[in-house]
Each structure stands twice: as structure tokens, then as C-alpha cells.
Symmetry: C2
């Protein structure tokens, strides 16, 4: 028989004049002499307890004794608060509990920090006492929201014929992609498992196994340097299907997202989401993760600028096509001084911008640093851009990548400063029709834009033939973007062994090296492997966005710090010689650095 009548935070007028049994934490205690008030807290919120010596001497003496974060059980009657004493900030604010019996279930030492969202505490201290930080309202909210999201995701897939199938965490290391976490094998000494960066191969093999519709909320691992949105282990909503087109898969994903938005935030979102090509996304937003909550899109004015033969030197580049593109900051003229804009120019240097061309629009001409340059095209420019008095026109004349990166970044920067981004709005969209390959400037080689199992567009397969240029191929892949951040992506996969071999060749593998690493998989495609495709979405980031949290730590129960350490348990830790010996490994530390 469960003793608790309800959660403290859920006590309300429906319990009036009833006797209730409550459990929770002492959140705050006010001693008024003959009367003591205690705010009793649990995961649902707070209720006010009133202790009165006349009502119960024993309970009153308990109330005298307790301190913050003591755990108590109380029995008492729910009564209306005196008029004027209501607290409209909490759900239980119209009532209080006249306590008749009280028991201390556990005491608490003074806390290292307060259980308040706004207490300013060093991050490692918070993580060391994570169980205390978890009592904060924001953490309670964040993890509950995440649980609701997870449930809504599962509900959708469960109700649409998807099977929840688990794939291994002790998997095979693949040199492609990010760095693996390795797990030494004790049985096969000298051999290592790798923790999966994603269940990509396994989920495809499940399609080969005939399961048709798979989903899993899957733990994944990447041993990369940490950033704000990145943890060594992360969770993805992982989906794979057979016999569907990319648009079918996008439709299904929209259904799932619609269900999540409804269940998690009670928001009705419209489907289908816009589906724009990668090229269009770059042209309009300067990025493949466009924030569509506001306009201020990039516009091409190459014809006008080039035609007027102004700024001719900028167009003298034999190697690249040079573009002139612009964004118009509406009504921003009086908000930015010349100095402000020069600071922006400096900021944009990181994208390779040599000169930020800009002008404030006046009734009959331009003002600002490029006014003179642009005056000859005043009418054409303002007409084309629909720019009017009081706007600022920002332009970059450069090759595609520089123009896109810089104006894309400037667009978001200006929108933030000009408060153009509406709050509490969720704009989903798809970016489709990606290039199959992209050039990795760091490694100086072509890599798969998504991964090596992505199918080229129908009709683009021939680009992978010997003698053709594979980098012209586009892919049946699609990224889902929410408010300017990539939530995830997917693709139709290659299901044909021959095409898969060609794909590896285009990525620089020899037939031998491809088979050495992926032979089991290429061979699988030879045994009646069905056409298939899927998607993966990052759950941590999605939950963070819906929680409106700045940091992913607010939706992860026990995160690591920026050094991949968990300050609470002090993992990772040293282990015994004996443990290593059993695994057939020993330490190999650089004595100068590590000891």
C-alpha cells in the first residue's frame, strides 16, 4: 500500500479538508515563533506546510529541528490559505497543509551550494555534487522534458510498425570517421572492440535481415575534443526502413517530430516542412543549416554590379566565379555607426572577406563607406533588393564559399542584434539534394558528405564510373534543421555491391582496402539486400533546444566536463596492474608529459 497521497507539488484545492500524507525535502523554513512554515519540495513542486505548537507538540518540535534539505514525511489536513496569503507562482499556492504528524527520514549536512537555478557556482563543483544540482528546478524540468520527448518518439515509431531493436555496443573499430573509443578484449588479447559512433552498419544489416522498419534510441560514442554541444557519449534517434523513397522517410520523420512537439511543448506544427536543395539553402541563407525564423535572405546582385562595371578589380579572379551578394538590414541605419560596421568587417575576415561593401539607404542616394561606389546603381539595387530609406545594404563580392559563409554568418549576427528572431517559434526545414562528396580542407581529400553508404541521386550513379568525375554527383540525402541547427540527417543507402565498391573507390580505397575494412558489409549486399534508407537525429541537442537550455548539460543526467571527466565519480580512474595484465596491455606514457 503506497502511503503517499500525492506529490507535494500537486496538492491543490481538490484535496481541501482531506488528510494527506506527503514526502519531500525541506526547501525553506520560516520560524515565526509559535508558527513555523516549511516549503516542502518534491519533483512536482512545492507546498506550504504549517506547524503550530497547539496542533501537535511533536510535529512542532520536528519543525524546529529540521534544516534545509532534510527529508521528511508529514500527515496533515489541506486547508485554504488565509485571504491575501495565496502564492500564485506555484500550483499549490491557494492551499497549505496543517501538519499533525511529522517524521524526519534523513538529515542533511549544510550544502556546498544552494538548490536554486540562479546560484552562481563553479561547474566542476556542480558536477561533483551532481545529485544536488539535479534537485534544481531547471534540471528537473530538463530531464522530465527529455523523458517526454523520448516517449513521444517511441510512441510514434511503435504505432507505425517500427520494431525497437538493440544493436551491439561492443563493435568493430573502423578507421573512417571520428576517433573510436576502444575496449581491450581479455579473451582475444591484443584485439579491441570499438564503441559505436552510430549503429549505421548494424541498422542497414537489419534491413538486409528483413525487419523492414527499425528504430532505436541508441547510445553512441566519439572520442573527439569536446565542445558545448558535444559529449563523449551521446544519444541518437536511429531509424532505418526498406522500400521507401527519401520523401517517404521525410514524411515519417515529420510525423514523429509533430508528435514530439505536441507531447513535449503542446505545439501544433505544420507539415510538410519546406524541403530546399543544398544549393538553394546556400544561396538564400549562406549555410546548410538555415535559420528560417526570420527573413533577411541573401540576394544575388552579380548582374547589376558586374554589368555596371563598378568594383571591377574584385571580379578579376581567373580561377573562381565571383559573385556579388547582399543582405538588407531593414531599418537598421540608425542602429549601426560606421565603427560598429567596421567591427563587423573585421569579424568577417575569418571567412576570407577582404572588404565588406555596405551603404545606408537614403531617400535619394546612399551614405556610408561604399556610397560612392554604389551610387551609379542606386535605383537598380534598391529596386532589386526592395531596400528603402533607413535600411543598410551589406554586400560581399567574392567566390561562392566566401560570400556564403560571410553573409550567412552576418545574417544571423544582425538578426540577433536587431531582435528579429521570435521567441518560442520552431522552424523546421529539410535541406536535400546534397553533393555526394565534400572536400576536407584539413585532410586535403574528398570525403563522403554524409557517409560512404549514401546513395547518389537517380541518374547520378554514372559519375562514380571510372573516368568520370565523382564529385559532380549529388546524393539522396537530407538534413533536418530546426531554428538554424542541424538536428540530424539521413539518406537512401547504396544497396548494390557494385555501386558500393565504386563509392569506396571514389573515396580513395583500393578494392583490397575496401574489402579489408568493409568486406563483410559489401558482401552482405550480394545476398538480396533490399533498397533501404533511414535517418538519425541527435536527441541531446533536440532536447536542449526544446528545453530552451543554453547548455546540453541541462538535459543529460550525468555529463562529463570539458576534459571528459565526471567530477562526481572521478571517472576515468587509474586501474590495477593486474586488470591491465589480464587484458594484455600496459601503460605507455610519455614520462615528461604524464608523470
Amino acid at each position: 500500500m503506497v502511503e503517499r497521497t500525492t506529490y507535494a507539488g500537486l496538492v491543490n484545492e481538490s484535496y481541501l479538508n482531506q488528510k494527506v500524507t506527503l514526502f519531500g525535502w525541506v526547501d525553506r523554513r520560516r520560524d515565526l515563533g509559535k508558527l513555523i512554515f516549511i516549503d516542502l519540495r518534491d519533483r512536482e513542486g512545492i507546498v506550504q506546510l504549517a506547524f503550530n505548537e497547539d496542533r501537535s507538540k511533536e510535529a512542532f518540535s520536528i519543525a524546529k529541528e529540521v534544516r534545509n534539505e532534510y527529508v521528511i514525511k508529514v500527515v496533515g489536513e489541506v486547508v485554504k490559505r488565509a485571504e491575501g496569503q495565496e502564492n500564485h507562482d506555484i500550483k499549490s499556492g491557494n492551499v497549505e497543509v496543517n501538519v499533525e504528524e511529522a517524521t524526519i527520514l534523513n538529515t542533511s549536512e549544510p550544502l556546498p551550494f544552494e538548490i536554486r537555478d540562479d546560484a552562481d557556482v563553479n561547474e566542476d563543483l556542480l558536477l561533483k555534487y551532481r545529485y544536488l544540482e539535479l534537485r534544481r528546478p531547471s534540471m528537473q524540468r530538463g530531464l522530465r522534458l527529455r523523458s517526454t520527448i523520448t516517449r513521444a518518439v517511441r510512441e510514434f515509431y511503435d504505432n507505425n510498425g517500427f520494431l525497437d531493436i538493440e544493436t551491439p555496443d561492443l563493435a568493430k573499430s573502423t578507421p573512417e570517421g571520428a576517433r573510436d573509443y576502444l575496449v581491450p578484449s581479455r579473451v582475444s588479447k591484443g584485439h579491441f572492440y570499438a564503441l559505436p559512433q552510430s549503429p549505421q552498419q548494424y541498422k542497414q544489416l537489419l534491413m538486409g535481415g528483413g525487419f523492414d522498419r527499425y528504430y532505436q534510441i541508441a547510445r553512441c560514442f566519439r572520442d573527439e575534443d569536446l565542445r558545448g554541444d558535444r559529449q563523449p557519449e551521446f544519444t541518437q534517434i536511429d531509424v532505418e526502413t526498406t522500400f521507401l523513397s527519401q520523401h517517404d522517410i521525410m514524411d515519417l520523420t515529420e510525423g514523429m517530430l509533430k508528435n514530439v512537439m505536441k507531447k513535449a511543448l503542446n505545439k501544433d506544427i505544420e507539415t510538410p516542412f519546406p524541403r530546399i536543395s543544398w544549393q538553394e539553402s546556400m544561396d538564400r541563407f549562406g549555410t546548410d543549416q538555415p535559420d528560417a525564423r526570420f527573413a533577411m535572405e541573401i540576394q544575388d546582385v552579380t548582374e547589376i554590379i558586374k554589368g555596371a562595371n563598378i568594383a571591377a578589380p574584385a571580379f578579376e579572379d581567373s580561377e573562381h566565379e565571383i559573385l556579388a551578394r547582399a543582405i538588407v538590414a531593414e531599418g537598421a541605419a540608425d542602429k549601426y555607426s560606421r565603427k560598429d560596421i567596421e567591427a563587423k568587417e573585421q569579424y568577417l575576415e575569418r571567412y576570407g572577406v577582404k572588404r565588406l561593401v555596405w551603404a545606408k539607404v537614403e531617400a535619394d542616394g546612399f551614405s556610408g563607406s561604399s556610397a560612392k561606389l554604389l551610387t551609379p546603381v542606386y535605383k537598380e539595387l534598391t529596386d532589386r533588393l526592395e531596400a528603402k530609406e533607413g535600411d543598410i545594404i551589406f554586400m560581399v563580392f567574392d567566390r561562392f564559399k566566401v560570400v556564403s559563409d560571410s553573409l550567412g554568418s552576418l545574417r544571423v549576427n544582425l538578426a540577433n542584434e536587431l531582435n528579429m528572431i521570435p521567441e518560442d517559434v520552431y522552424k523546421f526545414l529539410w535541406v536535400i539534394d546534397w553533393p555526394l562528396f565534400e572536400y576536407d580542407e584539413g585532410d586535403q581529400r574528398w570525403v563522403a558528405a554524409h557517409h560512404p553508404f549514401t546513395a547518389p541521386n537517380e541518374g547520378d550513379e554514372h559519375y562514380l564510373d571510372e573516368g568520370e568525375d565523382p564529385h559532380k554527383a549529388h546524393a539522396q540525402s537530407y538534413d533536418i534543421i530546426l531554428n538554424g541547427l542541424e538536428l540530424g540527417g539521413g539518406s537512401i543507402r547504396i544497396h548494390n555491391a557494385e555501386l558500393q565498391e565504386k563509392m569506396f573507390r571514389a573515396l580513395g580505397f583500393t578494392k583490397e582496402s575496401a574489402y579489408e575494412q568493409f568486406g563483410y558489409f559489401i558482401n552482405a549486399l550480394k545476398f538480396g539486400f533490399p533498397p533501404h534508407g533511414g535517418i538519425a537525429l541527435g536527441l541531446d541537442r533536440f532536447a536542449r533546444l526544446l528545453a530552451g537550455a543554453d547548455n546540453i548539460r541541462e538535459v543529460i543526467a550525468f555529463p562529463k566536463n570539458s576534459k571528459a571527466i565526471e567530477p562526481m565519480t572521478q571517472a576515468p580512474a587509474e586501474v590495477s596492474e593486474e586488470q591491465l595484465k589480464e587484458l594484455g596491455i600496459k601503460l605507455d606514457l610519455d614520462p615528461e608529459i604524464n608523470e
Copy 2:
């Protein structure tokens, strides 16, 4: 627009005279000259396709070309099968599809083995081509059932206020318990994460964090030698709650199991389940995992045997109390020869049995090897045991452990041989009130019967005080048993730092060594930690039992073999020197053994 009308296996009379589009695998092909029949298979089953040259030359030529496991798409009309041609073994057996269009989506090389449950194939070959084995009906059934179970588990907890919260996989190594899988850290060289053997500490800390009700379907890892029911990674249904008694938690668990049995097998099971003490379980069934599907319980006859002063030498043991206990195999007299029974005696030697005392019951006396010994107590014995003509009485005179182990094992062995175990019956029960400690005969030391966080029974706490005998304490712990196998177990936990310290002391820790390993956790108990408790159930075994499968591999998509190797991907594998160098480790292999 999803092209498929429905799954092949779901085509039935409701589609009569309709045109359908189907996708699937060629399961079987019969070429009758002018007519070709193909069994088209997908995850829902099989439908018969009929190809006729007159109907479509193109489709017919495709039907000529395809071989087993080709993937095809067909469009055709659903028609009734000719009378007498129905196949009652399949859901679609009353209809067939007259194919008008057919497309080959992928071909297949000849398979290494057949897609039939009864094909006799070497296990490693099956695992190497696991994606093909997964196409077998038994594997499709097993993984679908598991998905249904998982869903029913979640449904119950979601609807009862539990939050699904993820805990880390990169955790801290603890020398207690089984061997950890280790993960070297690249950032903190010389330090290692451990993959969790269970989320035990984390889920308790979530209770400290105020989440009240937690569940997770959690991946766990143990680097132990593998047995039939054991994989290096396994999955448990993991639950923790605050402010509940052990019986509350058992009630909740029963609610979950009831939901699973209904949703997975459409079985209504009765709750509450029997809750018997560990002592009663040992006395009645000789084991702490009793199979209650059949009776033949162990009965104590010490008084009778000892009182009659027969078999006196067996009772001469100064160190242990000697018991005489019996089981009665009803109507088994003519099924077991003296030789059969001698074989059993030999088998029971492993439990320390020196002599199996047995007798067949005749109308007016005993026959068999111990007849003479037992004749003086014929009436008392047969009365007490309710044994009648044609039964066999088996007895062991020895100390508690030997009597229990041997008769417990014999009981199950006889029940199997005598077909006493009903099929398709699911008997759940709880074993409660366990000893807090048990003696580990291997390590020759007292260990926690469950784990070091288990709370003693109310009133038994004082046994942990200095100077008292902690091994007299019983625990607030409970195991859930299904058909003679432990599904899982749980306990009320210690929530008081002082008691937790005493517990570690009883386990042989010094205060220093306890804090060194578990300090963060003991300290957490000092900050208003609530009373709490939970349970964990093994999902793999549970799914195996409900699937009626002999091997756990039938409910795991990509299992490892008995050497912890995945033959398909060949994980674990060798990795590069460079990878190890980055992790600050190197191989340390015994050259004679490993190279």
C-alpha cells in the same frame, strides 16, 4: 507517397479483386511451364504470386529469371485461390496475387545456408551471415516479440509516473563484483573508464536528485566467461523509486509484468504473485529459484527418521545439523529401474551426497535399495508424505546445503523426465527475506548476497554494529522468479551514511578503503538522501523465456559467440599502433601464448 499497399504476409481476403503493390524476397519458386508460382516473403509472412505468360510477358520473363532471395516488387490483383488449393498454414493462404508487373530490385548469389528454421548449420557460419539468419521465421518472431516486450515495459512505467532517464556508459571501474570492461581515456592518459555492470549507483543518485521514479532499459556489460544465457553485453529493465516499501515495489513490478504478459503473449496472469521467504523457498524447493509449475515439493522427515533411530550414523556430525528430507515421485515406480536410480545417485554426488536413500512404495511395504532401512517407519513415512503404491520416495540425510541442492536438482530432473511440467504456463513468484550476506566458497569470504547497498530488514540493523554477527542479518531484498529461473532482483537500499559505512565494514573494507572506492556515494547519503529502493530484471532472459527459445541468441540481433567474438564483423580486431599510442597504452602479450 508510400508505394507498398501492405506487407506480403498480410494480403488476405480483404484485398480481394484489388490491385496491390508488394515488395519482398523470393522465398520459393515453382516453374510449371506456362505458369510460375513464387512465394513472396517479408517480415509478416508469405503470399503466393502467380505469373502467367498470357497475363504479362514481361512479368513472366522476370519470374523466369529470379532465384531464391532476389528482392522484387510486383503489382497485381488479389484473387481467391482455386478450391482445394488453399494453404491453411499461412495467413494469406486463401488468396494469391495475379502479377501484372514485376521488377527485380536486387539479385542474390546462392546462399551459404537456407532461410529455414530447421536447417542444421554451424553456429559460426550462421553468425558470420547473421543478416541471412535474421530472415528466418524464428529470428523474426524472437526480435519482434522482444520489441513488443520492451514496448509493454515502457508503456507501464510511462503511465505510472516513471521518468526514462539515461545514465552514462563511460563510468568508473569498481573492483567489487564482476570484471569490468575498460575503456582507456585519451585525454587523461593512464586512466580508464569502465562500462557499467549496472546503473546501480547512478540510479540511486537520481533518487538523491529527487526524480522519485526512474526507469531505463539499460545496456550493461560484464567481462566474464560466457555461458548459454550470458553475453558480454546485456540489457536490463532498471527501476528505482523513493518512499516506497519493498511490497510497493513488488506490486509495481507485478503491474509491469502483467502488462507484458498481456501484450506479448495475450495472457492474463494473476497478481499478486506468491511471496515466499528465502528459507521457505529452500525448504520447499531446495533452491532460491523455484519452479512452481509443478508440485513434488521437498518434505522434512527428520523427526521420523531420527526418532526411529534408523540410519543413525548419518546423523553423527558434530559440526552441522543433519536433516532428513524427501521428495515423492508419484506413480514413478515402474518408470525407474534400480540402475536408473543408481545413475541419479551418481549424478547427485556433485552436491556432496554420499547416499541417495530411496524406496518404491508397495501396498504393504517398501522395495528398492533402502527398503529394509525404511520399513520400520513405513506407516509414518507414507502418511506424512502422502505417498502411495507406485510412488518412489527419494531421500537425502545430510546438512541443509547438501539436502537442498541435491533434492532441488533431483526434483526438476524428475519433473522433466516424468513430463510433469505443463507447457505454455508461466509461474511467477517472489523470493523475499534473503540473508544479507552469503559465504563465497571460492573466495572464502562473506560477500553481499545482493550488493553492498542493500538495506537490512527493519530490526536487523544492529547486527551490523561492532561486536555483533552481521551474518545473522536478513535483507529487504526480493528476487522475481519465472518458471524456475531468476528474472531479476531488487532491494530497499541503505539511505543512511552511517549504516552504509557499517555495511562496508562488514564486507571487510576499512573506512579508508570504503571511502577510497565509494566515498562520493557515501557522502551523497549525507545530504538529505531519501529512502529508496528498486529492481532490475534481465530483459534478454525474459524475452528468451517468453519466446520459448532455448538460446538467448534468438532474442538478440547481433550476439557474440562463446569466445565473445562477433563472427560477422570480426570484432574485436587488431588496431593500429598509432591508435594505441594516442591512448597511452601498448600491447603486453605473453609471446608463447599469443603470438
